[in-house]
């Protein structure tokens, strides 16, 4: 379970790539080239830590819309992401049918969620139920924002998983805000992990800006789930550096000073300096990574820009698995 040096560097690379891709999405939106973007800036560390704790490709993931870094770790490519932002043909999740960041990637066992929040928690319980019935040595990771843990469906799913000791990890990415509503108006407990004790399962809180700590906690929860000892709720604490989405202005609900303060503690900066201090990375190597990320993001944008839009007639199917006539 101990991470190798190479893995720790790889984790930083994934964080960095997701960040640069996310930043470019904001630029594309400002340029009027995409309709919508919802960001995961500031949340990469926890997502990468959790992803590395999984048996990627075997385990299942029901993510939420800020999980770009998580998806990148599951093999979602920058080209595929920009195709989805632009709603282009060949986009692997849905061929331009689903909204961007409502991730699905069949080859990675990642399943899309609904617009009303917390649906993915129920799906995770069902997937885990099937895994248990099929006697598979797999787990489900499901992620969610702290605001969405107010939803009834989250409690229904966590309760169910606890009753049946299902192999689920409920990861709460607590970025302090729902859209504009802060945590203290969302719950009376200090951490959403505290809610677990009322439902009879373990709840843990971890620093979500430290990918290696998150890795440790999620890896332990995965191990526990695999050995038949049931689900865990984990809250990873972090800060959402950007507005909720490209449709809101966060100056209306939080001060610039507050955001600036958190930017100083940006996990990308913190992890980088830590790896440099430990002698695992030199500034030159980081520069090399930055150049590689830029190149990949540029390539993705160029590729997606040139890709065709779906043909109009593609929009009428596939509504059903079996053929249905609509005459």
């Amino acid at each position: 379970m101990e991470l190798t040096k190479e893995q720790r560097i790889e984790m930083y690379w994934m964080m960095l790539l997701a960040r640069r891709l996310d930043e470019r999405a904001w630029v594309l939106h400002r340029q009027g080239k995409i309709a919508f973007h919802i960001s995961g800036i500031g949340q990469e560390a926890a997502q990468v830590g959790a992803a590395f704790a999984l048996n990627r490709g075997e385990d299942w993931v029901t993510p939420y819309y800020r999980d770009l870094a998580l998806m990148i770790c599951l093999g979602y490519t920058p080209r595929e992401f920009v195709l989805s932002l632009m709603g282009k043909q060949g986009e692997p999740s849905s061929g331009g049918r689903q909204m961007p960041s409502h991730w699905s990637l069949r080859r990675a066992n990642a399943v899309s969620h609904s617009a009303p929040v917390a649906t993915q928690a129920c799906h995770a319980a069902g997937i885990a139920l099937a895994m248990k019935m099929q006697k598979k040595d797999q787990v489900v990771l499901t992620t969610i924002g702290e605001g969405s843990t107010s939803q009834g469906e989250w409690y229904e799913a966590v309760n169910w998983a606890a009753v049946h000791q299902l192999p689920v990890i409920f990861l709460v990415e607590n970025n302090q805000y729902a859209i504009s509503v802060p945590q203290e108006k969302q719950m009376a407990v200090r951490s959403s992990a505290d809610k677990a004790c009322g439902l009879g399962l373990e709840g843990l809180t971890v620093d979500g800006t430290d990918p290696y700590k998150v890795y440790e906690v999620v890896a332990r929860a995965a191990e526990k789930a695999r050995s038949g000892n049931g689900p865990t709720v984990i809250e990873a604490r972090m800060y959402r550096i950007t507005p909720h989405s490209s449709d809101d202005d966060d100056r209306t609900y939080r001060s610039r000073e507050e955001v600036e303060e958190h930017k100083q503690r940006d996990p990308i900066l913190v992890v980088r300096s830590r790896l440099e201090q430990e002698g695992l990375l030199t500034p030159e190597q980081v520069e090399g990574m930055e150049a590689r990320a830029r190149e990949m993001v540029d390539d993705a944008v160029q590729f997606a820009t040139q890709a065709p839009y779906p043909n109009v007639e593609e929009g009428t199917y596939p509504v059903y698995a079996e053929e249905v006539r609509h005459d």
Binding site: T62, S93, S94, G95, R97, Q98, H102, S104, R106, V111, S112, S114, A115, P116, T119, A121, C122, H123, A124, A125, G126, I127, A128, L129, A130, M131, M133, Q134, G152, E153, E156, A157, N159, W160, V163, Y317, P318, V319, Y320, A321, E322, V324, R325, H326
Partner: protein, 323 residues
């Protein structure tokens, strides 16, 4: 052929499909030890065990949500919602997830699942326990909505539903469970999305389904005494809707009455009459009439409840109006 009740027919379909395919399992409130609120799964728990007949927490969203998750993994869950009124608590999973997942995944994920539920009024269970909101579910592309009116169709359609790779919303009518009819034993499949003529006649086409079929067939008996022969077309599936037998019949009779238990406005009757006007306008000899529930939340008191529900007399009156 054996004459059995609708309840027995549904139970038989479930039993046979669970014996046939180990991937099929049932989950829902009270379905296990107790055997289901309408006793459809009585004896299943002892025979198939707690793994395949799962009592769940009272959590409708999680019941349907978990069925979605399990079906993604290739199992064939049958989620029972104790009544259709409780489906509203799971609405997001039904209409936003089950109905859309296949399309939103561009076909990469199929959901071979059935949601079995019980609808309908007439048992004095009050406004939030007696609804017939079938048309709401039929509104959503991606769902298939099935509502049988006879025991044989209930068995054959449910078996087809369990074998289907699409999410099926299967509506049983609470007052039809005791209805008896001839049901073929063993392998009996009725295709989803096929309407059928349940009684032939030359004068008026009556289009209906589920409880409406019982009412319409009773009306037919009485009308026959007055020399009026109605042709009763049973839709059986609301989505995908099969209009062929309806239009064929209408082109013969040139008159139609639509009978449903749900409310009149924006209901099944509105859809059927619109399609007849669109596709058979040249054959119309009289305005199409609709018989449906009065536009009130269904009252508890028996007299009030029966006032609100469509009656045999309403069908007879409507038929006589179009002749």
């Amino acid at each position: 052929m054996a004459k059995i009740t609708m309840r027995e027919a549904i139970s038989q379909a479930l039993w046979e499909e669970m014996e046939r395919d180990p991937k099929v399992f049932i989950l829902g409130e009270e379905v296990g030890v107790w055997g289901g609120t309408y006793a459809v799964t009585k004896g299943f728990y002892d025979h198939f065990g707690p793994e395949r007949v799962r009592d769940t927490p009272i959590a409708e969203a999680a019941i349907v949500g978990a069925a979605i998750g399990a079906s993604m993994r290739g199992l064939r869950p049958i989620a029972e919602l104790m009544t259709i009124n409780f489906a509203f608590s799971a609405m997001d999973h039904i209409v936003n997830e089950a109905a859309k997942m296949h399309y939103m995944f561009n076909g990469q994920m199929t959901l071979p699942m059935v949601i079995r539920t019980v609808g309908g009024g007439g048992r004095q269970l009050g406004a939030t326990h007696s609804q017939t909101p079938d048309a709401i579910f039929a509104h959503f592309p991606g769902l298939k909505v099935v509502a049988p009116g006879t025991p044989a169709d209930a068995k054959g359609l449910l078996k087809s539903a369990i074998r289907s790779n699409d999410p099926i919303f299967f509506i049983e009518h609470a007052t039809l469970y005791q209805t008896r009819g001839e049901v073929p034993e063993g392998e009996h499949l009725v295709p989803i999305g096929k309407s059928t003529v349940q009684r032939t006649g030359r004068d008026v086409t009556v289009v209906t389904y589920s409880k409406g079929l019982e009412i319409s067939l009773k009306a037919a008996e009485q009308l026959a005494k007055d020399g009026i022969e109605i042709e009763v077309v049973d839709l059986r599936t609301l989505r995908p809707l099969d209009m062929e037998p309806v239009l064929e019949s209408f082109k013969k009779t040139n008159r139609a009455v639509i009978v449903e238990e749900g409310w009149l406005s924006f209901g099944v009757g509105a859809e059927i009459s619109a399609r007849i006007y669109e596709d058979a306008f040249d054959y119309v000899d009289a305005p199409i009439r609709r018989v449906a529930q009065k536009e009130v939340p269904l009252p508890y008191n028996r007299t009030l409840e029966q006032m609100a529900l469509p009656q045999v007399e309403d069908v007879i009156k409507a038929v006589k109006e179009v002749i």
